[in-house]
């Protein structure tokens, strides 16, 4: 994993994409979309998170499967926390 050295050009391209996405999310936040303002903002934020995690943190180049298992387990835990909390709160009004 550590043997991999990414090119300077790749890092600069990733950074430029992150800046473009930041300008985009700031610009579209002026649109009146009601509850979808945050949906759109979170979609863009997740793309930015993936760029940082895959390239800057180098997840794309990790060859050690154990480390990948740790990362996936952590994200799955976060999914359980958010999804099960929300299924509770969002469905309370249904009864």
């Amino acid at each position: 994993m550590s043997a991999h050295i990414a090119s300077k050009k790749l890092y600069i391209t990733v950074w430029a994409s992150l800046i473009v996405l930041t300008v985009l999310t700031a610009a579209v936040s002026y649109l009146e979309l009601g509850p979808f303002n945050i949906v759109l903002a979170l979609v863009i934020a997740t793309s930015k998170m993936l760029l940082v995690a895959l390239f800057f943190m180098g997840i794309k180049y990790i060859s050690d499967k154990m480390t990948i298992a740790v990362i996936v387990a952590g994200l799955f835990w976060l999914f359980i926390l958010l999804a099960l909390s929300m299924t509770d709160y969002a469905s309370r009004g249904w009864v």
Binding site: A6, W15, T67, G74
Partner: protein, 225 residues
């Protein structure tokens, strides 16, 4: 792991005796760092879950609170952090290539971006606390029908951005420490795990901000100034 008899290799002074080789040592250290970052996801995840629940319960108060954020400072700070992540990634790369001087320079630029972020956060906090009296507690002032719910919004704002800022302060300290040892020539192509792991921490803190920015600054299309 070797399938033949162990060959005599030149001993790397940075190889601890309980590891078979440098590759195993590095993989172990990086996995350990990821385990730590998972505990950080759990730490911030609890606050994010709390945020999501209260946002669901107090929908309009969240919009009112968000409209009082410093939209431009928040956006500029996002750009500052993304730039710091670039210089951090390039610093790790420079270490891998054994470029001592550019490593130190890039780490110092990363520190400066980190300090710029904290300075801007300080300006925002000053405005919210001193000028606007929006710090939750007996001194909290907010005109509108949902005052106490907006107060909860500001509790989340100060707790989440405050813990993020604390992580930034720790990050600046770590990068300073690493920059000092990089300057002393401690790291290079043969050994750069501490630089790599500090980079992982720095990028993680950046990712937390990538989510804090939309959750606090962008949930309403109405922006202050």
């Amino acid at each position: 792991m070797s399938d033949s008899t162990p060959a005599v290799v030149e001993h790397n002074p940075d190889l601890r005796h309980h590891f078979a080789n440098m590759e195993q040592q590095t993989e172990t250290a990086v996995m350990g760092m990821w385990v730590f970052l998972i505990t950080e996801i759990m730490f911030f995840g609890g606050m994010f879950a709390g945020y999501v629940i209260y946002r669901h319960l107090y929908y309009s108060a969240w919009l009112e609170g968000s409209q009082r954020m410093d939209f431009w400072w928040g956006t500029i700070n996002t750009v500052v952090l993304l730039c710091s992540s670039l210089t951090m990634a390039l610093a790790v790369r420079a270490t891998q290539l054994g470029h001592r001087k550019s490593t130190v320079t890039l780490l110092i630029i990363t520190i400066l971006f980190g300090l710029a972020f904290l300075g801007i956060k300080g300006i925002e906090y000053w405005g919210h606390i001193v000028t606007e009296h929006q710090f939750p507690g007996p001194g909290f002032r907010f005109a509108g029908p949902n005052t106490s719910q907006v107060e909860i919004f500001f509790s989340f704002y100060f707790a989440m951005t405050g813990f993020h800022a604390l992580h930034m302060i720790i990050g600046v300290a770590l990068v300073s420490f690493i920059a000092y040892y990089a300057w002393k020539g401690r790291y290079g192509a043969h050994y750069y795990t501490p630089v790599e792991n500090t980079g992982l921490y720095w990028h993680f803190v950046d990712i937390v901000w990538i989510y804090l920015y939309p959750l606090f600054y962008l949930i309403s299309h109405v922006h202050r100034k």
